[in-house]
Symmetry: D2
Subunit: 345 residues, 4 copies
């Protein structure tokens, strides 16, 4: 960590900061410039955390404290020396050279809808099936999902198609029933910083698909992943799904496609994109999917519905089941541009 | 809700939208302009929700769907016909003409720290005492709070000073132990959209201090409040604590002081401000507190520490206990500018 | 335009709004709902502008005024009935099925640098050559460009390679000298809302490359284009180059790749992307270029330098001249995914 | 400047960076930590600029380059050793303990409107009169101001009331005619980074009121001020007027009240607030004005109109002339809270 002193800092104030750093068992390297002094504080990895607790920011004469080391360890690219993590979900690989397409309806609505969509996406070449039984909704008056009945239908779809199931957990008390069905547990954007939930999923060992919060920095996303990894669960997939910006006229959020290459530089974990929630409109899902794949994403999670006009939730952003096979072909070619091959069983 | 048709929409497409609205039992009012057609869809309050589920946004010929009615009901100003809610917390009033100052340390660290701070803030005129036993931390390696031992110390501080206690709940499984101590349950910014947590607090009936998420719109904040109100708990305090913007050079977040008068227009609930987390730096807490009070806030929740340099958490933003009495005098004068009097037992 | 009345609006207030609309020569369509009244105000195209001047937003009983018609006309997709504009710049086409790669150094530094880069980009298949003679710099102490000497070198590069020249104008008083060299006049992000500059470029008739401001909405970008189009100059290229968001840790701006398909829906004008300024780092330029092309951009403007380490300006984001041919091949394949062919003389 | 090397950087890469720094005539201080190396590069003030031109960001092994020194000099608080600048505009002081209220209509519309408003604001205690003759408008079809006729009316208002005139310049070619009337030249938010305009106003020596761009950081605002100061014009007033954020439901921009204390820490220049453009709605102007004054602003620039319903531009945000005297009394009390007295002739 570097401590930048104010231009007006006195020698005593500089000495007090140095003393505090040394008192924490770290080394202080003052650099006196023409206008101000900067102090480098170097400890070993564990000591860095202690330095942060020193409260140097409030100290007299201190202008600002700039962290140097990234705050995540297990999620960082360095820990695997640049090697990329490839997860295996029931035989489907994701990460490295493997691109996984995850598709299905936003919400489980009925047996017919779930089974027909699962067959559509399997036939077109998807690697996994997604569907929500528990739905976080902005309004308490909106449909909140079928709950355990939805989970049962997902289990049936899995049995029928052989596709691994991705489904969301939003209440830590539902963990056990979700574990009975989910091959991958999805953590929604609103729960990215729900730390007790992250820790429990970490303890479960089940693969986790962690969506970035709408205003979360990439470092915060990686810290959320760290909460899962720290419990001994190495199976985390990062997911970009759009961020809040000033641009709200023609969409709800802005897809941050730059997050894909940057996350892959910062972390060894697979990085996927959710073009459906980013777009909020069906006509944008295609261009955003190609953009994500061409930018090097390790997968896409996309919404498909046999009859979106009658979808209970998020119909306007669902791809039509009838168009899905063409969509898959286009995405496969875009992924190939980035050196990736589609993952199948 | 208004449905704006595209300029290229055909008569059939317009007719199909009208039919869909009527099929949902609502009235459709088409208005044909020189360049395009707009269709007003009017139902009663419950039907509005149904219209939203029609998926008109994906319909051919539809440009966009603009909601007219606000999505929250119990939180809206209209439901109380403009009358403001005044909560009573163990005799302290908040809302209307009553300004409540809530003060205390970020985190409960030790018996000595908690008791001395509680006495300081009571002597200076605070209405309630705040302190965290469970701390949501970005890093899994950071101090996570004293937990139940912290709650015990808060109970002791309450017994000693008579001040009602405000403390955070972040895991729904801790509700019962928190209820034993908390006069007001704080919901942190990260948990604003943790809907199961909100619903449980709603069911508990205990007053809730609901912090705005870092990228939550005011409508989303009010929808979160609606989750609590809907369970029959009318005791919700809204709290602005800074939002994420592009400005990150000299601070972590940007205080949205405009949120105060706008929330008071939209809702009957009390609105307070957290200048400590908004500022992140002690020297900004004073100006932001005066700004919040002058803008009409119903209260302030602020961090105070007897020795911030040694605080385990957020020391740089804590006011010095020695300066607190002067701070209170200044805030009281700013609140008076907005027609409010300090609330005491 | 729709006028949403407050739930508390009186009949008199509603009548007053209707009267005001009718007084402006427009038609008022009141729709009375269960909770509130909405008034549709419909005029012909010219009257819409007058209605906006009525100040209805401040009127008693009015909750909000929602515009229906898009404020731009000449830039809108409707005016060309969905047909896309294809510009011809000295024989190079851009728009429709034609993808134009514009490449060159950020800044003109020397004769050797300009000529060698121009040859590199021509040989690799670029359609146009870019280079800055006038540079808007955040700091008044930074290098501000070679000015007229820079323009002379660009002219020489054009003569040598046959590539049309794209260069920036930032002071309206330099228009004449820039017109002597520029085949396309670039308007930088900071000048997107410099309306006198836009109007003069409009009057000049010279093709304009209009960069989106860092916090400009797409509607504002199209209104800026309208300033040029209104003067009788139909030759406008829109350019997305990254926007300001809360995410500032690992980059300066966030590329808004969604802007590409949305702008193409809203407008008939060609839409290109500047991955260099969006990225700010060389390693991100490749992924962002592929994403932009796959999302359907009509072109890319990218920075290339023979020796970026010694570049006067923005070296870290410049592609290496030696890598440029491989880059072009990859971009060409991504553009093909979106149905576009590279444009050449 | 600090250069943070990657964890994977080799000794050769570290040596190459050190060599480059020394080659620029600066001193390099490497600090080897447990996980990575940081290199402090220290020159004298002028050399810092040179180091920035080294392109170290693109260098192999370099993770990031962190500037230490603030990029502005003449605008910085340090240059005046903490003393605050107090400007005198025709006898009215602004800055330090002096609070200046600047009021008037958004746009000059008619002789009657200008003269009556000028008298109203003078009688109520305003220090200066504002009014726009040249108006930057998002739409090329909107009213663009009365131009020179507007300037003539402002001159008459000044003669009649004795109030100094604040008016906007948006085209560098209008500088001479504006100089004939303006006591203070306003630079609008859209032109904050119009560097040729800033430089010309700098050369003119006339006091400048510089509005912050909608997505400008505070450092960028101070760099824009530096463009004026560098030309030998020390008379710059900084103005916060709201920034772009994700919150667009109930307003156009978000007032950044934190900018007031932060700018006053960073710079010696006076800092004022424009609550009218920040609010966009009359009912918010009062609370925001009190907040700004209580937070320590050195002044306010506010819009007033005798009959806002008929205003050509921005009527909904104008205070009613009839309410203005009460408004002034409230603002004066809020300014007093921050230790400031109203400035008069």
């Amino acid at each position: 960590m570097m401590i930048v002193m104010k231009e007006t800092a006195t020698d005593q104030e500089i000495a007090a900061v140095i003393e505090k750093i040394q008192g924490a068992g770290a080394l202080a390297h003052p650099i006196k410039g023409a206008r101000l002094t900067v102090i480098g504080a170097i400890g070993d990895v564990e000591q860095d955390v202690n330095i942060e607790g020193l409260g140097l920011e409030g100290q007299p004469g201190v202008d600002r404290v700039m962290p140097i080391l990234k705050p995540y360890k297990l999620a960082s690219a360095q820990i695997r020396h640049g090697e990329r993590t490839v997860l295996q979900i029931d035989g489907r690989k994701i990460g490295g050279e493997h691109f996984a397409l995850i598709a299905g309806p936003c919400t489980v609505e009925s047996r017919e809808q779930v089974l027909s969509t699962a067959e559509t996406v399997r036939d077109a070449g998807a690697a996994m099936f997604r569907g929500g039984a528990y739905k976080p909704r902005t309004s308490p008056y909106a449909f909140q999902g079928l709950g355990q009945e939805g989970l049962r239908l997902l289990a049936e779809a899995k049995e029928r198609t052989g596709l691994p199931v991705v489904t969301e957990l939003m209440d830590v008390r539902d963990l056990d029933v979700v574990l009975e069905v989910a091959d991958v547990i999805q953590i929604g954007a609103r729960n990215m910083a729900n730390f007790p939930l992250l820790a429990e999923i970490g303890r479960s060992g089940r693969p986790a698909l962690l969506k970035r919060g709408l205003s979360s920095t990439l470092d915060e996303l990686l810290m959320a992943a760290e909460y899962i990894l720290k419990e001994g669960n190495p199976n985390v997939i990062l997911c970009e799904r759009g961020i809040r910006t000033f641009e709200t006229d023609h969409r709800r959020v802005t897809l941050d496609v730059m997050a894909v290459p940057i996350l892959k530089e910062l972390s060894h974990l697979p990085v996927i994109v959710d073009p459906s929630h980013a777009a909020g409109r069906r006509d944008l899902v295609g261009p955003l999917s190609l953009a994500a794949a061409a930018a090097g994403a390790d997968g896409i999670i996309v919404e498909v519905h046999p009859n979106p006009d009658e979808a209970v939730c998020d119909g306007p952003q669902a791809l039509l089941a009838d168009d899905f096979a063409d969509y898959v072909v286009a995405v496969e070619r875009a992924a190939a541009l980035a050196g990736k091959a589609f993952s199948t069983a």
